[in-house]
């Protein structure tokens, strides 16, 4: 079962979280990215995510594998939306289970940071003024 997935429609978090439950894991940290109504000072109406799907899935899976090696965690998973999204829609979800909360938080934060900087997914943002643009951030803008 893949731990990283690209979803082209809205997805349920509950079954994804369920798969991370372990009798030996006392801690679970999760992150969700939601589409905001503004970005860098401009009012946004929605966006479209596009992925180079084969490479995105392979790179996402590598990130989860690396997290499982680096941190004392039980399991981890991530799903990223592509396609048209409206304000308030779920764009990305990360979940991590672990014996203790320190590792769960650290790994969850690390995974979303790596996904944002490495996985070939691009955001096309639409603004209230009617224009739109692809976001190609400088590396230092990602934090």
């Amino acid at each position: 079962m893949a731990r990283f997935a690209i979803a082209d429609a809205a997805f349920d978090i509950a079954p994804l979280r369920e798969r991370l439950l372990r009798a030996e894991a006392g801690a679970y940290a999760s992150f969700e990215g939601w589409v905001r109504n503004h970005n860098e000072g401009r009012a946004a109406t929605g966006l479209r995510y596009e992925a180079y799907r084969a490479l995105a899935e392979a790179e996402g899976e590598r990130i989860i594998d690396e997290a499982l090696e680096r941190f004392a965690i039980a399991d981890a998973a991530c799903v990223h939306r592509i396609g048209e999204l409206a304000v308030g829609d779920l764009a990305v979800w990360v979940g991590v289970s672990a014996g203790h909360r320190g590792a769960a938080f650290t790994a969850c934060r690390w995974i979303i940071d790596e996904v944002k900087s490495r996985v070939p997914i691009w955001k096309h943002e639409r603004y209230v003024e009617g224009d739109a643009q692809w976001l190609h951030p400088q590396q230092q803008d990602l934090q």
Partner: protein, 79 residues
Amino acid sequence: MARVTVLYFASLRDAAGCDSESLDHDGDLATLYRILRARHGFALPIERVRVAMDGAFVGWGDPPRNGAEIAFIPPVSGG
């Protein structure tokens, strides 16, 4: 000389006006990007782009394999 298919994403696709194109190329991947940047008017300099061949990131100095699928990866903005 290698026959390659080049995939375009995001702003590169908008500039190229197509998702992909096939062409013959003699030289490394950096040269390929520079040729196609000049042809399509890509705004992004090579320093801000990564390159993948057949679904894996590779170096700009690599030569394309014959029949390879090349993807230029502009700065990503997922999450």
